[in-house]
Amino acid sequence: MVLVKIDGRELEVPKDYTILKACQAAGAQIPTFCYDERLSRHGAGACRICLIEVEGQRNLMPSCTEKVWEGMSVFTKSERVIKERKGILELMVQNHPLDCLTCEKSGDCKLQDYCYEYDVTGIKGLEERVLPVDDSNPFYKFDPDKCILCGKCVRVCEELQGTRAIVISERGPVAKVSAPFDEGLENSPCVSCGNCVSYCPVGALLPKSKTGYRVWDTKKVMTTCSYCGVGCQLELIVKGNEVVGVQPAMGAGNEGLLCVKGKFAYGFINHPDRLKKPMIRKDGVLVESTWEEALSLVANKISDIKSKYGADSIAGLTSARCTNEENYLFQKLLRAVVGTNNVDHCARL
């Protein structure tokens, strides 16, 4: 443990803490764009917005990369820090389309939040870049004009997802996030997991949602993904009575990550063709029925077949969408109740 002083308040923190973590422990609010506690220090400190002043140090330091040391005194809101942060925001916003009126990210955008907090209004200075939007991926779009080049998407893709589909190409004022050889996201190794989209702090990476929505018109409902047995935690973004998007949550199984199905394949929830009741084929036509009727029909048929042809004429195939517990119970049902070892699982196919 080391003793540090944050804005005059003394506290003890573990010696492997970054200054940012120590500040957070002291209750100081530090703005961040590129920081994510799951990411390594490689490529960190790119956005510079988390700069703080340390007594005795000539330069301001990015708090997300520097470790704490014994006796250090940190100022998170000094005049110099505020001035520097304002300068960074001004540079970012000068090069950012002023589109909050209709931008889908509005209300959930860190650039907007910090500009409000630090009172940075959209000054028109530099020529706006007008780069083409890459909407070649069916699930999300990338607008390089809105990108602040914090590099978080690149690091999430590489370190957390392990796909390495995007990089920052070029240098200086023409630097941009791009797919290999600039051939568009569709021709990249991208698996459309959407984790870059979930963590983009601004409106550069946005899902292509079928129903447009404004963040403030929605509420979030925490749930478990039903696509496979991993049980990823996610938040459904709900507008009125319709699911319009998904945001990953920090669950033990997924640690804030999702796959393409969990992130983007929620359209079935509100689909008019969705089956909500079991169907039984009667005289060649599928008709809606009750669970009670459907389950007793299945049970009766199984006992009929068993008594006529023996238990081994029955086989059970279960699904990777079920949990371990459900799969366990299924094989138990087949082995102990039906009396056969003919049981398999779609994940083996």
Binding site: V93, T102, Y116
Partner: protein
């Protein structure tokens, strides 16, 4: 009351004949955009954004002012209607500063809401519009550049006959909302009841003391009734997490006045101590910072209570 059958966007409904199209549509769950229309105010049909297409009418009609009739067939989202609404929004935006990045109204602004819905964006003209801020009244922050001249504020102010502080001034492109004879909000006869603030659909009239303290989307809102007098006006508590960061006036109901005293008392009562904004009193022509005891005239009361308790 006689009832009539109308068809709106293919759905039929039976409503009293005193209903306007916008009221009938609301009962069907069809939302028609409106700036100047406010159910508690006189109908003026000036903003034109609520236009709808009525079978048999050559022109588009305003849904807020057109009464329903038997057999009426209305289209609220036809191509012609959408085109008209988009044009109105574009004209409003061309004359409005592009300030949503930090505007206090963002998230609750009707202009922003409809611009998003109808996919209309700021053009180059808006970059020429600069803010015209009047901060002279700390309770009523006015930014003329954001005004869309819907007149809600004028009508709600005029509901209190002895007030009628706000009015339209000038004509045509020079038209604006003026306080008294074009005074600042601070030096006018405004009593800071905030009725106008509670109905302004855009960021032209806002509570100055709440500026920069919260964004609408990070706050949960809780409705409360003021208990300072028997009118029981409606107020809203703004909650950021577990902290109450502000109180704001909601639109006054029939016969209700809204007043600054009620507002400040609720603030003192509910708002987190660390979030209390300074209070101001008007002295002469100007607002100056005051103590809570002074602003709420509690000095004598506190004194007497203290004496009573000593006894």
């Amino acid at each position: 009351m006689k009832k009539v059958n109308v068809v709106i966007d293919g759905k039929s409904i039976n409503v009293p004949e005193s209903y306007t199209v916008i009221m009938a549509a609301k009962e069907l769950g069809i939302e028609i955009p409106a700036f100047c229309y406010e159910p508690s105010l006189e109908i003026v049909a000036s903003c034109r954004i609520c236009v709808v297409e009525i079978e048999g009418s050559r022109k588009l009609e305003t849904a807020c002012s057109t009464k329903v009739w038997e057999g009426m067939n209305v289209q609220t989202r036809s191509e012609r209607v959408i085109k008209e609404r988009r044009q109105i929004l574009q004209l409003l935006l061309d004359n409005h500063p592009n300030d949503c990045l930090t505007c206090q109204k963002a998230g609750e602004c009707l202009l922003q809401k409809y611009a998003y819905e109808y996919d209309v964006k700021f053009g180059d003209e808006s970059s020429q519009v600069s803010l015209k801020i009047d901060k002279s009244n700390p309770y009523v922050y006015r930014d003329e550049s954001k005004c869309i001249l819907c007149g809600r504020c004028v009508r709600i102010c005029a509901q209190i006959p002895e007030r009628s502080v706000l009015c339209f001034a000038n004509r045509g492109t020079e038209m604006k909302i003026a306080a008294d004879y074009d005074k600042t909000m601070g030096s006018s006869s405004c009593v800071a009841c905030q009725r106008c603030v509670s109905v302004c659909p855009v960021g032209a009239l806002m509570d100055g003391r709440l500026m920069g303290r919260h964004r609408s989307w990070e706050c949960e809102k809780e409705h409360i009734k003021c208990s300072v007098c028997q009118y029981g006006c409606d107020f809203e508590l703004l909650k950021k997490g577990s902290r109450i960061v502000g109180v704001r006036s909601m639109a006054p109901g029939g016969g209700r006045p809204l007043c600054l005293k009620g507002r400040l008392t609720n603030e003192l009562n509910y708002v987190d101590m660390s979030e209390l904004a300074p209070v101001y009193m008007k002295k002469g022509e100007e607002y100056v910072q005051a103590s809570w005891v002074e602003a709420l005239a509690l000095h004598r009361l506190i004194n007497r209570i203290e004496k009573l308790e000593e006894r």
